[in-house]
């Protein structure tokens, strides 16, 4: 999976770090704990910048390379923080044959933001996602926890306007 490195400054707090270390401790001895640790870390920080990976490496005894290797292998691990408004465009097959590619193009055009990145002010992030399983509603986009289905390119501007 190709990943864009982040340009947003790391703003982790001491409390977050303590919480993460506590999670690592509670998983000590669990076989194959690296994935659950990374998932917990992403829950705590919202993403996995190199600073967080370093904490994990330090406290698990794994090398930073190993932590980085696992973090970059899986698409769900984000190296970029999600925007305040996080947009996902489903590019599963059912959505694709119903035109989700055009919808993504239109969102990219309106926001001026390439897929897989976050605006520098942290407001919007855009992702082309794998199938989210709402194929009955294809084509589908998600904005934070809201799902918009059966869309056409013409609906995009109106929906985005609600969030600007």
């Amino acid at each position: 999976m190709k990943k864009n490195l982040t340009t947003v400054m790391f703003r982790g707090t001491k409390a977050q770090e303590e919480q993460l270390i506590a999670e690592i401790e509670s998983l000590r001895g669990t076989p194959g704990a690296m994935m659950p640790i990374l998932q917990k870390a992403q829950e705590i920080y919202g993403y996995l910048p190199i600073e967080v990976q370093r904490i994990i490496a330090e406290h698990t005894g794994a090398s930073l390379e190993e932590v980085y290797g696992v973090s970059t292998f899986y698409s769900q691990f984000a190296l970029n923080p999600k925007g305040e408004i996080s947009i996902g465009v489903c590019l599963g097959t059912a959505c694709y044959v119903k035109g989700s590619g055009d919808i993504l193009d239109r969102i990219v055009e309106v926001l001026g933001l390439p897929a897989g990145s976050t605006t520098p002010d942290g407001k919007f992030s855009l992702e082309a996602t794998r199938c989210i399983g709402a194929c009955g509603l294809a084509p589908v986009i998600t904005i934070n926890n809201d799902v918009y289905g059966k869309l056409t390119k013409a609906d995009v501007d109106g929906i985005l306007a609600k969030y600007r």
Partner: protein, 598 residues
């Protein structure tokens, strides 16, 4: 005394269109009318007819409401539940009947008539978050029977005799897999695992089973564990499925409370417990060895086989890994017997198969049919055909590993071997329907783009080969293809298939090969005529204005972002194709449908 049950679908499709709010509103409305002791509201798993969601069924009448909105709830309560008059405008048209008290049974509608629900039998019927409802449907009876009446070898023999084959796509006989892992029981640590990493885009069978009937999977895993001599199980589930994960967590907790997981199950001395591990979005982790590497906490890269997981699997121990749908069949086979199961299906493919119908089809949703049902029955009868008066062009099965089935083969009975013979594969059950507006070259490119992104990079044929395939397809789509490219595609595809390490690479060229096999003319049109017959590939399209229809309103010229449209008021306009960036803004804005693409 409860006089009515209101079932509301809580599958992902209906949840996405607001069924949780409807459920809350229904409970509130019923409480407001003081009916809470008479009417029970149940959130269920998927009914299958996702296209018409959110769905609600009211029993005992069996009234099937479709496309329900929160605003409709007071009317349903007031009219139907209080006064006994179903809200006609919301009733699914296929179930409308003369007699208002007896709706046409769902099993008689075109969508359900030819279906046979085995793996999905409890989906949309029970509340998946209540173990008692599962037990009331003979839940855990199969586990009880296995533990008290059958030896582990009996169990394996039963599954072998049933002819059950893996529903994840490969079609390997499940009983054989169990047999290979069964040696040396009691002396070796073994594992059972469940593959719920449903990565095939457009497929949601496994998710619906986990959401609608999670206990069936738990029960079946316990049975498998007993059969091979394992005491621990892992479910590897996609993190993208929050509802499925939640229900599985609830189900495991309830099963533990009831003593159906844990130590000394049914007082037989058999111990079994299970754990959930979340995937993190890697398609390759659907491959068995990659899945196990991922559970172990590493990059999910596959490893060479042999040794097979039955010998050396999870944490280096013998492991049985089955797919969710495979497991969902197990308790039924134990309870109803081998003969019952073998009565469904074709000679070499027994039982049923769940398909996720998607794409250009009226009834998108989840269907389960006996093996051997033809594609025509699934698409035209159950699926309700192609919407908007378009024609069927092809169906795609098996996702990025599969191929397409053209209209000429629509009468093929669907089973494992037939699909392989025509160059596709069963896959996990995604079935995407395409009409004349789908470009098959673009579709092949779509899948290759997916595999290039998802190739783990461990072996060269897959890592580099798929990228080269994608480049050739890009070249053809851009209008720069040459006829020799078709030979290159074929040659390279065959190398990738034979030399890749795992299933991902070995099947990645299938979308290319099968579109080349059945839609070669479309490739030729892209290469020789520089045209995209379906009107999809932008580089080969030209936007044009029909001078007879154009009224000269100038709207398109004002909308065009690059000033490619010229003309004077009230005279037909023209598009400068050299300047045109093919954004389609003019076509969207034209009120007279005077702009077309070719």
């Amino acid at each position: 005394m409860v006089r009515s049950h209101v079932l509301i679908c809580g599958g992902t499709g209906c949840t996405s269109s607001g069924s949780v709010k409807i459920l809350d509103a229904m409970n509130a409305e019923i409480a407001a009318k003081g009916l809470q002791d008479e009417i029970k509201v149940v959130g269920t798993g998927c009914f299958g007819l996702c296209a018409l969601g959110p769905i609600m069924i009211v029993y005992p009448e069996g009234t099937f409401y479709s496309c329900v909105k929160v605003e409709d709830v007071p009317e349903i309560v007031e009219e139907h539940l209080l006064k006994g008059r179903p809200v006609e405008r919301l009733v699914y048209h296929e179930t409308k009947s003369e007699d208002p008290h007896h709706a046409t049974s769902l099993s008689e509608t075109a969508f359900y008539k030819k279906q046979k629900r085995v793996a999905l039998r409890n989906c949309g019927v029970i509340n998946p978050e209540n173990i008692d409802e599962y037990i009331a449907m003979d839940g855990y009876a199969a586990l009880g029977k296995v533990l008290t009446e059958m030896t582990p070898d009996d169990v394996i023999q039963t599954i072998l005799d049933s002819g059950l084959r893996g529903r994840g796509g490969g079609g390997f006989p499940t009983g054989l897999k169990w047999k290979f892992a069964s040696g040396n029981r009691g002396n070796v640590t073994k594992y059972v695992a469940c593959n719920a990493d449903e990565g095939d885009p457009g497929a949601f069978m496994d998710r619906s089973i986990l959401e609608g009937d999670p206990h069936a999977v738990i029960e079946a895993m316990a049975i498998a564990a007993y059969a091979i001599g394992a005491n621990e199980g892992y479910v590897y589930v996609r993190a993208e499925y929050p509802i499925a994960i939640h229900r599985l967590e609830v189900a495991i907790k309830q099963a533990r409370e009831y003593g159906l997981l844990g130590k000394n199950i049914f007082g037989t001395g058999f111990d079994f417990d299970m754990f959930i591990r979340f995937g993190a979005g890697a398609f390759v982790c659907g491959e068995e060895t990659a899945l196990m590497t991922s559970i172990e906490g590493n990059r999910g890269e596959p490893r060479p086989r042999p040794p097979f997981p039955a010998v050396k699997g999870l944490f280096g121990q013998p492991t049985v890994l089955n797919n969710v749908e495979t497991y969902a069949n197990i308790p039924q086979i134990i309870l109803n017997g081998v003969d019952w199961f073998k009565s469904m299906g074709t000679e070499k493919s027994k039982g049923t198969k769940v398909f996720a119908l998607g794409g250009k089809i009226t009834n998108t949703g989840l269907v389960e049919v006996p093996m051997g049902t033809t594609l025509r029955e699934v698409i035209e009868e159950i699926g309700g055909g192609i919407p908007n008066g378009k024609t069927f062009k092809a169906a795609q099965t098996g996702g990025p590993s599969g191929g397409c089935i053209p209209a000429s083969l629509i009468d093929t009975p669907i089973d494992y071997d037939n699909l392989i013979a025509i160059g596709s594969m069963m896959g996990s059950g995604g079935l995407i329907v395409m009409d004349e507006d789908t470009c098959m070259v673009d579709l092949a490119r779509f899948f290759l783009d997916f595999t290039v992104d998802e190739s783990c990079g461990k072996c060269t044929p897959c890592r580099v080969g798929t990228r080269r395939l994608l480049e050739i397809l890009d070249k053809i789509i851009a209008g720069n293809g040459e006829m020799e490219d078709l030979d290159r595609l074929e040659e390279l595809s065959n190398y990738i298939k034979s030399a890749s390490l795992c299933g991902l690479g070995q099947t990645a060229p299938n979308p290319v090969l099968s579109t080349l096999r059945y839609f070669r003319d479309e490739y030729v049109a892209h290469i020789v005529d520089k045209k995209c017959p379906a009107g999809v590939c932008k580089s080969l399209l030209q936007y044009k204005i029909d001078p007879d229809k154009c009224k000269g309103c100038t709207l398109c010229a004002r909308k065009c972002p690059v000033g490619a449209i010229s003309g004077t008021v009230k005279n037909p306009h023209t598009i400068d194709t050299a300047k045109c960036i093919k954004c389609g803004a003019c076509m969207d804005s034209c009120k007279f449908k005077a702009i077309y693409k070719e």
